[in-house]
Symmetry: D3
Subunit: 137 residues, 6 copies
């Protein structure tokens, strides 16, 4: 069993807030991330799959296929977008790195299974100082 | 003469567009950066000043003072903000990295002179693949 | 369950040696790190906590609170300090990255529990070529 | 138990292909990596060992000894070499990052045991976007 | 006048040697880089152009156009290639980073002029420790 | 004319202070860097030389020779050392990055001329946020 990781990047706008909170409460809990006029990030995404290297090709998964899946199910939907208002799989969810990573897992799990590999980890970096890792449960 | 550089970072939303252009023309010229719902970046900013090291302290400029000036005139105004709508010195300007860098120069030139150093260069990185440098003319 | 990591940095002096060893034996075992006049590093510290994202805020832990804890219990005590002589929780301990990481774990475990999260991993980098990871046992 | 990692780098040429495949099939499966005239990479290698810090030295393993082992069993054999034709332990194997990482594990496991530590993980990066991790099974 | 830089990467094989030298002399002068079986690198390329930001778009050059030019005149010709035997504009030239950077300048100067900007600098990194910069003369 | 840069790293302890100042004044001017018990850094050093590529070898300077000079005149004298008390060419000088960079220039200028190249720039990084550049005057 080997673990293979592909890095991708995207740029997006977002805001952390709850509509039922007052502006003051949003600011208290979410700090500067609650700015109603949005802010944004260069997100760095690491997708790790696990699998057994194919005895003929020596590859656990075809990296080109993996990259195409990440493009189709994630990057095309989030790159240069507003994560709160324009991304179907984020509707009704907080756009914290925790919730984005969980949503990415749900987006990628089946398509990766369909090419014969198993999604192992989502790592999502919001800045050089903050990142999350999610293993599906 | 020595050149001293301080790195700072900030996160912001922006959009490239001209209101008098059609959506189609904006998309054609500015690509994905014209998205009306915003997107954003982790900007990395390098401020370079030049000066002669003080014979007693060995320092060309006090880095703590330089950092405070950058905080006051730049970071507090742009961090977690919308560069198109919330930053006074960007009103009426395109938020391309070129124009942001030039605006930063204008913000910093006098305050840095006031502490006895000379602004030499603004370097502004929008992503790991794109950056500009501006020398004041 | 999600794993959230905060990066912090600090600069410190240290020395690897045992007072009961001869200078020659210290040099043999600890190499250049045994220099009696000290040397130092830019340490990079990654604190990973695990938790379940709050259903209202979408956050497993408030990052600002986590950062404040790391500042109070670690950074303020070690930044621009001598790890061998000035840091209370390192008294009587070797200042190898292994022992520093273990000491950091002991410092952070309770304060992080007190804000409702669980410390999962300490990762401490001494140079770009050497780092340790500690999981508490 | 603590996990200690040493980073090393090397530069090498390689090619992904199977001699019994047609050029067209090689290109289809391995893409540009099948170029018959070779291409190459700056590989970055992270060797992680686990151990209990020695109560006298505070070190889980002597990093200088670990580095010497990696030099002898890996770097001297692969640096500035052709991985397909010049590296004894790669004969008859595909030079995918998966297979290289597994081969490195086999090379290092015993020598690291012999200095009293236990190999825990091989991480091998081929580019800033692709890497694998192998834990020995 | 503003300076705008685009980063691109490519992977290639190469060898430093002169056919009229003996193997011994090649090894003496070029070291491990003279290996007859090739080795390779992940090259990082920074293309800097200078120009005056357009008063309407705020951009000194259209980055998408610049990237297309670099793709067409450089990346498609060198990525996953052997720099000594497969790249037309390197025939009869040493594949040192110095000579590659000069050849890249010659490739890019006219096409960049043709889109209204001026090539200012080629920066080519061979490893994290070695790079060259070329300004056209 | 081409500019070639070699990166080297070293770890050292230092302190910014003037013996004739009171502790309070030292703290006021030099901040945490005045700690009497030392602190330290992982310094990153970039040495840039300029020259014309040799028509036979394609190289402006032999990188191995350049690296040996930097090792001999700089790294062996400063690595794992105390910059204030153990480095001959720093005696009586402040150990600010400005003054260290100027001292490195003086150390390297002649030896680099002696191998037929010309020192162009010293870049010295103290942390990821602070660095200086010195061009010899």
């Amino acid at each position: 069993m080997i673990y293979l990781t592909r890095r991708e990047t995207f740029n997006a706008a977002h805001r952390l807030f709850r509509p039922e909170y007052s502006d003051k409460k949003n600011l208290e809990i979410f700090g500067k991330c609650s700015n109603p006029n949005w802010h944004g990030h260069n997100y760095t995404l690491y997708i790790t799959v696990k699998g057994i290297p194919n005895s003929e090709t020596g590859m656990a998964i075809n990296l080109k296929e993996l990259s195409q899946i990440i493009q189709k199910y994630i990057i095309e939907k989030v790159d240069h977008k507003n994560l709160n208002t324009e991304v179907d799989f984020m509707y009704g969810r907080m756009t914290s790195i925790e919730m984005i990573a969980i949503a990415f897992w749900e987006q990628l799990k089946q398509p990766i299974l369909a090419i014969g590999a198993q999604l192992y980890k989502i790592r999502l970096e919001e800045t050089e100082n903050n990142f999350v890792e999610y293993f599906g449960q």
